[in-house]
C-alpha cells in the first residue's frame, strides 16, 4: 500500500514540472516563434482572420446555427469569423461517414441546420426528402461557383445543394521504390516491384475497373459489374491492404509502394515530409470525381441563417481559407481568379487537374436497384484477396 502511495507521489512529481514547463513556454517569444515555425505544415497556412469582405444580412443577432460536418473540415477561423460577422452562436458537430449522417437524419432531424453530404448521398437524400430546397436568391455568392461544377447530375439545377470541396481518387506512390513515373491504372494493377494498397470505396474502385474495361462507371448491367469484379480479383495479387482512408499512412510507413487514395490525403504527407519522395497522379484513363456539398436538412430550426451561412462559405476569401487548410480543391472560381488559393496547391495538377482530365472523370450515382450487386462484388473481391 505504501508502495502505491509512493508511486502516486512520484507520478505527481513528474507531472507537475511537465505542466509547469508547458505554461512557461508560452512566455519567451523566441520559443513561441520556434513552435509556430515547426508546427505550421504547408497544408495549414496562417489563418487570415477577418480578411473576408462578406457582409452578414441584418437581423440574425443573437440567433444560433447548428452545423453538422466532418471533424476539422473547416479552417481555423471559418466558424469564429461567421459568429463575429453575424453576431450569432454556431454549434459545430461532427459525423464520420455519409452513411452515419443518413442514419442520423432518417429518424427525424434532431436540430441541425447545415449538413455536408457527398454527391451520391445528396441524390439519396433528395429521394428520401431529407433535404429541403435552397433559397438561391439569398445565396448571391453561388455565382462564384465554377461553371463546370454547377448543375451536377446528382442534383440538377443545384436545387438542394451547392459544392463545398471536391477532389479526385488518385494513385500516390513512392518515387524511389517505384522507379518510374506512374501515369496509368495499369501501372498500379500490374506492379510487381512490391505491395500496393487500394481504397475501401467499392463504387470508386469498381467504377475504375468498369472504366478500364470500357464500360460506364455507373453501370447497371450485372454482367459488366461481374466483369469488373473479376478484373480486380485478377489484378489483386500485389494488394497488401484495402485501406479505409489511411493509405497515405501506409505509404509513409513504407508498408506499400503505391496507394489509391483521395488527393488531399496524399498531399498532406508530401507536405509533412518536406521531401521529394512521393508523387501522386490522376491516371490517364480517368478517375472518380467526388464533390462534398452544403445542404439544409428538412426541419432545420433556422433556415434563413443556414442560407446566409452557405452564402458566407461561398465567399472567395472564406472558401480559399478552407481549401488552403484541407488541401482539397475549391469549387470557388472567384477565389481562384482572385489568386486567394495557395499557389503551390493551385499549380498541382493532381489537385486542380487540367481540362483534358476533366473529360474522363466520373461521379458516382446512387443505383438503388444495383446496390446489392455492387456490395456482393466488393465482398467477393475482399474475400478472394483475403483482406476482408
Amino acid at each position: 500500500m505504501r508502495k502505491v502511495i509512493f508511486l502516486i507521489c512520484i507520478l505527481a512529481l513528474v507531472a507537475v514540472p511537465v505542466f509547469a514547463q508547458d505554461s512557461s513556454q508560452a512566455t519567451p517569444p523566441a520559443t513561441e516563434e520556434a513552435i509556430s515555425d515547426t508546427g505550421s505544415a504547408a497544408a495549414t497556412p496562417e489563418a487570415t482572420e477577418g480578411a473576408t469582405k462578406w457582409q452578414c444580412p441584418d437581423g440574425f443577432q443573437g440567433q444560433t446555427l447548428s452545423v453538422f460536418n466532418w471533424t476539422t473540415y473547416v479552417a481555423d477561423n471559418t466558424i469564429s469569423d461567421f459568429e463575429r460577422l453575424c453576431g450569432v452562436k454556431v454549434t459545430y458537430d461532427t459525423y464520420t461517414s455519409n452513411e452515419d449522417l443518413l442514419a442520423r437524419l432518417k429518424g427525424g432531424n434532431p436540430g441541425y441546420d447545415v449538413i455536408v453530404p457527398s454527391d451520391h448521398m445528396v441524390a439519396t437524400m433528395i429521394q428520401l426528402g431529407i433535404v429541403q430546397p435552397l433559397d438561391l436568391d439569398k445565396i448571391p455568392n453561388f455565382a462564384n461557383v465554377s461553371e463546370s461544377l454547377k448543375n451536377p447530375v446528382y442534383d440538377p439545377g443545384n436545387k438542394y445543394s451547392v459544392p463545398y470541396q471536391w477532389g479526385t481518387v488518385v494513385i500516390g506512390y513512392n518515387k524511389a521504390k517505384v522507379g518510374h513515373d506512374v501515369t496509368s491504372w495499369n501501372d498500379l494493377f500490374n506492379y510487381t516491384g512490391g505491395k500496393v494498397a487500394w481504397l475501401d470505396d467499392e463504387r470508386a474502385m469498381l467504377g475504375i475497373a468498369l472504366t478500364m474495361l470500357g464500360d460506364d462507371a455507373n453501370s447497371t448491367d450485372e454482367t459488366q459489374i461481374d466483369a469488373a469484379r473479376d478484373f480486380l480479383i485478377a489484378h489483386g495479387s500485389n494488394v497488401a491492404a484495402i485501406a479505409s482512408d489511411d493509405g497515405q499512412a501506409m505509404l509513409e510507413r513504407g508498408d506499400v509502394d503505391m496507394t489509391v487514395e483521395y488527393s488531399g490525403d496524399i498531399y498532406q504527407i508530401m507536405s509533412n515530409c518536406n521531401c521529394q519522395d512521393y508523387g501522386f497522379v490522376i491516371p490517364k484513363e480517368g478517375t472518380n470525381l467526388w464533390i462534398d456539398n452544403l445542404a439544409i436538412p428538412t426541419g432545420a430550426p433556422n433556415k434563413p441563417l443556414a442560407d446566409a451561412f452557405i452564402d458566407y462559405i461561398l465567399d472567395p476569401q472564406v472558401g480559399a481559407d478552407i481549401s488552403n487548410y484541407t488541401a482539397y480543391a475549391s469549387p470557388n472560381q472567384a477565389a481562384i481568379d482572385q489568386k486567394l488559393i495557395d499557389p503551390e496547391l493551385l499549380s498541382n495538377e493532381a489537385i486542380y487537374p487540367p481540362a483534358d482530365v476533366r473529360d474522363h472523370w466520373f461521379t458516382i450515382l446512387p443505383n438503388t436497384d444495383q446496390e446489392t450487386i455492387y456490395n456482393d462484388a466488393w465482398d467477393a473481391i475482399k474475400a478472394s484477396l483475403g483482406t476482408s
Binding site: I35, T71, D76, D93, P110, G111, D265, Q268, N272, C273
Partner: protein, 310 residues
C-alpha cells in the same frame, strides 16, 4: 516358475513406463515454468506497447502519426492554451468541448447506473419475488445484444415517445443530454448489477443475520455491514460503467443532438482528414488521470483492509 518370472518383468515394465512419464511430466513442468514467465511478458507487451507508442508520439514534432520528427510540447501547449482561454485553434477547442461532453455524460450516467444497478443486485440476491429468474436472465440482455441494435431501438423508442407526448400534451420533446444519459444508464445498469451481484454472492449472509440479532434494523444493517463489504464491488462496477460510457460511440451518436458531440465521435470523424496530433496529447493526459484515479482507489482499499485487520 514361468509365472514368478513374469511377475517381476511385469512390475519392471510398469516402473519403466513411469520413468518415461515422469520425464515427460518434468519437461512439461519446466516448459510451464518458462511459460509462466514468458506469457505475461507477451501479454503486457501487447497491452502496453501501443499505449507507450501513443505517449511517445504525443511529444512528436510532426503532424504525421507514423514518423518521429523530434521532441515538442506544442500539442500540450495547444491544449493548455485552450483551457486557460488563450490563443487557440478550432480543432483543439472542438476536441476539448467534446471531451467535456464525454466526461459529463459518463459521470452522470455512471452515478445513476451505479445506484440502480446496486439496488437491482441486492434485490436479486436477497429478495424473493415471483418472476425473479426472468429478471435475472434479462439482466444479461444488454451485455449480449449488438450495440447498434440497442442504439436504433432507442432512437425509435424516443421518437415514438416524443410523438405521443406531443400529441397528447402538446409538449415538444427533443433529443439531448437526457436521451444520451438514458441510453447509457440502460446498458450500464446490467454491468454494475452483474459485478455487484458477484460480490454479494461471495458475502457471508450470517454477518447480516448477526447484525440483526444484535438489534440493528435492516437500514442500519445495510449501511454498517452490507454496504462496506460490497463497496469494492460497487466501485469496480462504477469504474467499468464509466469506461464503457466514455468509450461509447454508437448509442451516443444515434441519440445525440446539436452541440453534444462526444470525444469518440470527434475521433472517428478525423478519418476524413489526417488525425490531429493533439489527440495523442489528450489521450496521454487521460491515461495519466485514470492511472492516478486507479492508484488512489487501490490505496484507499488497501487502507480499508489495513484498518479492518487492525
Amino acid at each position: 516358475m514361468a509365472e514368478t518370472v513374469a511377475a517381476p518383468q511385469h512390475t519392471r515394465q510398469i516402473v519403466t513406463i513411469n520413468r518415461a512419464q515422469m520425464r515427460r511430466d518434468f519437461a512439461v513442468r519446466r516448459a510451464g515454468k518458462i511459460g509462466v514467465i514468458v506469457e505475461p511478458i507477451f501479454a503486457y507487451f501487447f497491452l502496453w506497447a501501443p499505449i507507450l507508442l501513443l505517449v511517445i508520439f504525443s511529444f512528436d514534432n510532426s503532424r504525421s502519426i507514423s514518423n518521429w520528427q523530434g521532441f515538442t510540447l506544442e500539442w500540450y501547449q495547444h491544449i493548455f492554451n485552450d483551457v486557460v482561454g488563450g490563443d487557440t485553434n478550432f480543432s483543439t477547442a472542438l476536441m476539448l468541448h467534446s471531451l467535456g461532453n464525454s466526461l459529463l455524460v459518463a459521470t452522470v450516467a455512471t452515478t445513476i447506473a451505479t445506484i440502480i444497478g446496486t439496488m437491482v443486485a441486492l434485490s436479486l440476491v436477497r429478495g424473493n419475488f415471483p418472476g425473479k429468474q426472468y429478471i435475472d436472465g434479462l439482466l444479461f440482455l444488454p451485455v449480449v445484444i449488438p450495440e447498434i441494435t440497442q442504439a436504433i431501438s432507442l432512437l425509435i423508442f424516443f421518437s415514438t415517445i416524443f410523438d405521443v407526448v406531443h400529441r397528447t400534451t402538446g409538449v415538444v420533446g427533443t433529443a439531448g443530454f437526457g436521451t444520451i444519459i438514458i441510453g447509457h444508464v440502460a446498458f450500464n445498469i446490467s454491468y454494475v448489477a452483474i459485478v455487484v451481484r458477484a460480490r454479494l454472492a461471495d458475502m457471508n449472509p450470517h454477518l447480516e443475520e448477526a447484525a440483526r440479532d444484535l438489534g440493528a434494523n435492516e437500514w442500519r444493517t445495510f449501511w454498517r455491514v452490507t454496504f462496506p463489504l460490497i463497496l469494492p464491488g460497487i466501485l469496480s462496477g462504477a469504474l467499468l460503467a464509466f469506461t464503457l460510457s466514455l468509450d461509447d460511440f454508437v448509442i451516443t451518436f444515434f441519440n445525440s443532438a446539436p452541440g453534444l458531440t462526444t470525444l469518440p465521435v470527434f475521433v472517428y470523424g478525423l478519418l476524413k482528414l489526417t488525425v490531429t496530433p493533439e489527440i495523442n496529447a489528450i489521450s496521454t493526459l487521460i491515461l495519466v488521470a485514470s492511472t492516478l484515479l486507479i492508484g488512489i482507489s487501490i490505496a484507499m482499499q488497501g487502507r480499508n483492509a489495513a484498518t479492518a485487520a487492525a
